[in-house]
């Protein structure tokens, strides 16, 4: 398996860790912020771990596009679910990963915060030119993507370009039949 010009199949744990740190971003369903760190520290954590310096312009870009500017000094427990998830996305974007994996990013949010977040994801993808791979059960969330692969029992069963909520729902309905 290759990622960003590196073969990752045979790597040892140390180098694999470095690959995760430098080339991959993760956003999880449960926000997975470190409770002891402020929003800013959470966002900068991957860079800190890599020992890299922050590019202030890029930090402002990411934070600005996610509208987190006024929440940076807060601890996760002082943020709403949507804000926490945006911090998680900012953390994933800050390293300019080759790919960002998002696992049900709206799963733990109410529908308004969820939609809001998906808009943010799409903005980030367009403005920052970021590849995002998102897993979801929600046809509305899938509709935000440029391309949707429908999986059933571990196999790709459909491939939709420029999906809408209706086409995704249609494809899903076919699964039941």
């Amino acid at each position: 398996m290759w990622l960003g010009g590196v073969e990752i199949s045979g790597l040892d744990d140390r180098r694999l860790t470095a690959v995760r740190r430098d080339h991959v971003g993760f956003v999880f369903q449960a926000f997975n912020l470190l409770p002891t760190l402020t929003a800013r520290e959470n966002i900068l954590l991957p860079l800190d771990l890599a020992g890299r310096r922050v590019d202030p312009a890029q930090f402002d870009d990411v934070v600005g596009s996610l509208r987190l500017g006024d929440r940076l000094g807060h601890l996760p427990s002082q943020l709403s679910g949507g804000q926490q998830q945006r911090v998680a996305i900012a953390r994933a974007l800050i390293t300019r990963p080759q790919v960002l994996f998002a696992d049900e990013p709206t799963g733990a949010l109410d529908s308004r915060a969820g939609t809001d977040l998906l808009h943010h994801l799409r903005t980030a993808s367009r403005e920052l030119g970021q590849t995002i791979v998102m897993v979801t059960h929600d046809p509305n969330a899938a509709a935000f993507a440029q391309r949707a692969l429908i999986l059933s029992d571990g196999r790709v069963v459909d491939d939709l370009n420029g999906p809408t909520a209706d086409t995704v729902l249609g494809a899903m309905k076919k699964l039941g039949a």
């Binding site: 860790t17 470095a18 740190r21 369903q29 997975n32 470190l34 002891t36 954590l45 991957p46 427990s77």
Partner: protein, 814 residues
């Protein structure tokens, strides 16, 4: 319910290991010391009654009893098969550097004998000795070897080895009855104990009655059966051994308190982790009381398991100890009551320690407990009330301890004050430990992101961190208190000895005016550790001051060389002056006194000095000549400049001197004696308190281990974000060091203060003005290093577990 509880322990053994070990150690301490003391006591009892082991009836005769009358009465009473006085004396014997306390027994005649010679023969002449195998092994001698009596006044050749064993406190040796005459006991004098053997046809009771009748006219003689005497001896010994056992239990209690903190902390963390389980139980209809009972039942089960293991381990260790001392020969004594008390205490402290955390942890609303993330960390602010109470405790303790320093009651008040302060510090730890940790965390934060994360993790649960550090604080504080107290007392006393006795070592004749043997002075000055010496002339004179006359005082002639051995000595002494010891209030400076020697009587002016001791005065060389009867070179003063060489020098000098005719005194001897006693005391107490430190460190490992379990997802997240496995381990290591660092630092600081306070409280009523705070760096720093290393070690297992978290776990549902 019991089955559920046991299953809980079986399914999650890792959660409970530390608790179980902490309980087991505390209980093993109690059980082990009881069993060992009881076993040793039994050994000593059996051994002490050895001298009457071959007798059926024992006579005790007071001083002044006529031996002839006794012999007549014994010889004419029917049923007496054999009789003789029992010869026993306790004496310390030395071989090389080893000294051992001996019950020295005159070999009884064959009918009254209880022991067999296994190798060699019984001693028959003066200077021969038979030893038990244990005693011979302890002294490191074999058949044909030689031992010296502790006072150096007798040399014995080992001619036989006997079979019966020894104990930790007492060894047995046999000498010929004639030896006792040399030791100052006349075997023919009637006083003491007489052993009587009954002939086959009479019972012990008949013989006792018969002898009582025969000796009715002798008021100072009592007749008892040997059995009754043994029972009485046992009763008396029991008291002494109880003191010893109680002392050990005091140390066990300290270990138990530290254990309780660890147990309470474990339960706090366990309950925090099982919030969801509690919520689930509550949601399906369990009442709060039912949930509490369930967790308390877990505590009972843990207490029972831990205590049972502790009893087993304690008995095992005590048996091993008894095997080392030789008492095991007499069998292991299991004091049932003590063991029950130890077991019940183990269970009780577990339940007691678990009670508050259980009460707090189960007070959860069902829905709150089912929420995915705990609603809040235990970031609750500890109450201002606690701060006020602890502040009052510390201030009151300080006032109590310092206010009366120097008075007669200084020591009890200092102890009470220290106890109050310690309570204040320990209970207030929730208030200041997190703050100190945050400070430390900020400092280590400079070393990079791993260190920063470690620092933040360490203060994340202030209560937990405080409790963990408190246990260590208590244990380390006690040890450092003893270390600093001992170092300060010994430093102060040594300084006092140096001040009052400038002469390090002095060798002279018991007969005062006899010269030292040829060449001895040269050999003594060449002894290791001795830097120089000066020979002084001595005469005897009567000293008259006012109406009082002191006869036969030792008059030492001044020689300029005394400055070599006593730095504070005057470089000259006028002919009309006499140096009188400063340590007596008998004479004051400038007073006129007369010295009457063999040839002349002179009038002199008193100058007080520490150079001479009680019973000695010093005059100029010319004055000494006038007094007459001078023996040149009768006294040798030596200098031992390096205190580290004190013991070597004292030993070497004592070895060279025939102590029957010459004495050895001096500051070095006193210092060496004090240092060795305090040193042994400190080693023993440090070892005993070390158990408490061990439990506290177990607590550090436990806190980390449980936090790691709790943070599995977080560890996985960090790994997903690119934290290397070894960085994760490093993070745990730093957390352990931070926690241990705070505990050790506060413990050391408090210990230094309490140690100084104790030493000052002891010294002040004794009239010692200045107490110099001394810290034995090797001991104290050594202990700190060991504690920190152990804390680092404590982080290894939790660190490995944390690093095992796979990044995918972060993706898994909660």
């Amino acid at each position: 319910m019991l089955r559920q509880v046991l299953r809980e322990i079986r399914f999650h053994p890792a959660r409970f290991v530390a608790t179980l070990v902490a309980i087991a150690i505390s209980v093993a301490f109690m059980a082990g010391s009881s069993v060992l003391v009881a076993t040793e006591q039994n050994g000593v009892e059996r051994q002490q009654s050895l001298p009457i082991a071959g007798a059926d009836v024992v006579l005790t005769a007071e001083y002044g009893t006529d031996p002839a009358t006794l012999r007549d009465a014994l010889g004419s009473t029917p049923g007496v098969a054999a009789f003789e006085p029992s010869l026993v004396r306790q004496l310390s014997l030395r071989q090389g550097a080893v000294t051992s306390l001996m019950n020295l027994i005159g070999v009884p005649s064959a009918p009254l004998r209880w022991s067999e010679v296994q190798q060699g023969r019984w001693p028959q002449a003066v200077g021969e000795i038979a030893l038990t195998r244990g005693a011979a092994a302890a002294l490191g001698v074999g058949l044909g070897g030689q031992v010296t009596s502790g006072l150096g006044d007798g040399v014995y050749t080992v001619v036989g080895l006997t079979a019966e064993p020894s104990s930790l406190f007492l060894q047995t040796g046999y000498v010929a009855p004639a030896e006792f005459a040399r030791l100052g006991v006349d075997p023919s004098v009637g006083e003491g104990t007489w052993l009587v053997r009954a002939a086959g046809e009479v019972t012990v009771e008949q013989l006792t009655t018969g002898l009582r009748a025969a000796l009715a006219g002798q008021p100072g003689v009592t007749v008892e059966s040997a059995h009754a005497i043994r029972a009485e001896a046992v009763r008396q010994l029991a008291g002494e051994f109880d003191v010893f056992r109680n002392l050990l239990w005091a140390f066990a209690a300290i270990a138990a308190v530290v254990g309780m903190i660890t147990i309470a902390n474990t339960f706090t963390i366990l309950l925090a982790q099982r919030r969801r389980q509690i919520g689930l139980l509550r949601a399906v209809g369990a009442s709060g009381a039912q949930v509490r009972r369930r967790f308390l039942a877990e505590a009972v089960a843990l207490g029972v398991l831990g205590s049972a293991a502790g009893i087993g381990v304690g008995i095992g260790i005590a048996t091993a100890g008894a095997a080392l001392t030789g008492s095991l020969y007499w069998g292991v004594e299991l004091p049932a009551l003590d063991l029950v008390v130890a077991f019940v205490t183990g269970v009780a402290i577990t339940v007691l320690a678990a009670y508050l955390p259980v009460l707090r942890g189960t007070r959860v609303r069902p829905l709150e407990a089912l929420q995915p993330e705990p609603a809040s960390d235990e970031r609750r602010r500890a109450g201002a009330a606690r701060g006020a109470v602890c502040g009052v405790l510390v201030v009151a303790g300080l006032a109590l301890a310092l206010g009366w320093l120097g008075s007669e009651q200084a020591l009890p008040l200092a102890v009470a004050g220290s106890a109050l302060m310690a309570l204040g510090v320990l209970f207030g730890s929730v208030l200041f430990v997190p703050a100190v940790l945050r400070g430390l965390a900020a400092v280590v934060g400079w070393f990079g992101v791993t260190a920063r994360l470690a620092g933040q993790n360490a203060v994340r649960n202030p209560r937990r961190a405080a409790a963990t550090a408190t246990a260590l604080m208590l244990a380390v504080g006690l040890i450092v208190t003893l270390q600093v107290g001992t170092a300060t007392v010994s430093g102060t006393v040594l300084a006092e000895i140096d001040r009052t006795r400038p002469v390090d070592l002095a060798v002279g004749s018991w007969e005062v005016t006899a010269p030292l043997p040829d060449g001895l002075a040269d050999r003594l000055v060449a002894a290791p550790g001795v830097a120089g010496g000066v020979l002084l002339p001595v005469a005897q004179a009567d000293f008259t001051r006012g109406a009082d006359t002191y006869q036969g005082l030792t008059v030492i002639g001044f020689v300029p060389g005394v400055t070599i051995v006593a730095s504070g000595a005057p470089s000259a002494l006028a002919d009309d002056q006499v140096l009188v010891t400063e340590n007596s209030a008998d004479a004051s400076d400038g007073e006129r006194v007369t010295l009457a020697g063999r040839d002349a009587t002179v009038e002199l002016t008193v100058v007080r000095s520490t150079l001479v001791q009680a019973g000695e005065v010093m005059v100029s060389g010319a004055t000494l000549e006038r007094l007459g009867g001078v023996t040149p070179g009768a006294l040798l003063w030596m200098s031992v400049p390096d205190r580290d060489d004190a013991a070597t020098a004292a030993g070497a000098v004592t070895e060279l001197v025939d102590t029957d005719r010459y004495y050895v005194t001096g500051a070095v001897l006193e210092a060496a004696a004090i240092e060795s006693v305090l040193g042994v005391l400190l080693i023993v107490t440090t070892a005993l308190l070390g158990v408490a430190v061990l439990i506290a460190l177990l607590g550090v490992s436990n806190t980390l281990g449980l936090s790691v379990l709790e943070r599995t997802r977080e560890s996985a997240l960090m790994r997903a974000l690119g934290l290397q496995a070894r960085s994760l381990r490093l993070m745990l290591l730093l957390e352990a060091l931070l926690l241990a660092g705070v505990g050790v630092a506060v413990g050391v600081a408090a210990g230094v203060f309490f140690g100084w306070l104790g030493a000052a409280a002891i010294a002040a009523p004794m009239g010692v003005a200045t107490v110099t705070l001394s810290v034995d760096l090797a001991q104290t720093v050594g202990m700190v290093i060991v504690a920190v290393l152990a804390a680092a070690l404590a982080s290894v297992l939790p660190g490995r577990r944390a690093a095992k978290a796979s990044p995918t776990q972060a993706l898994a549902d909660i």
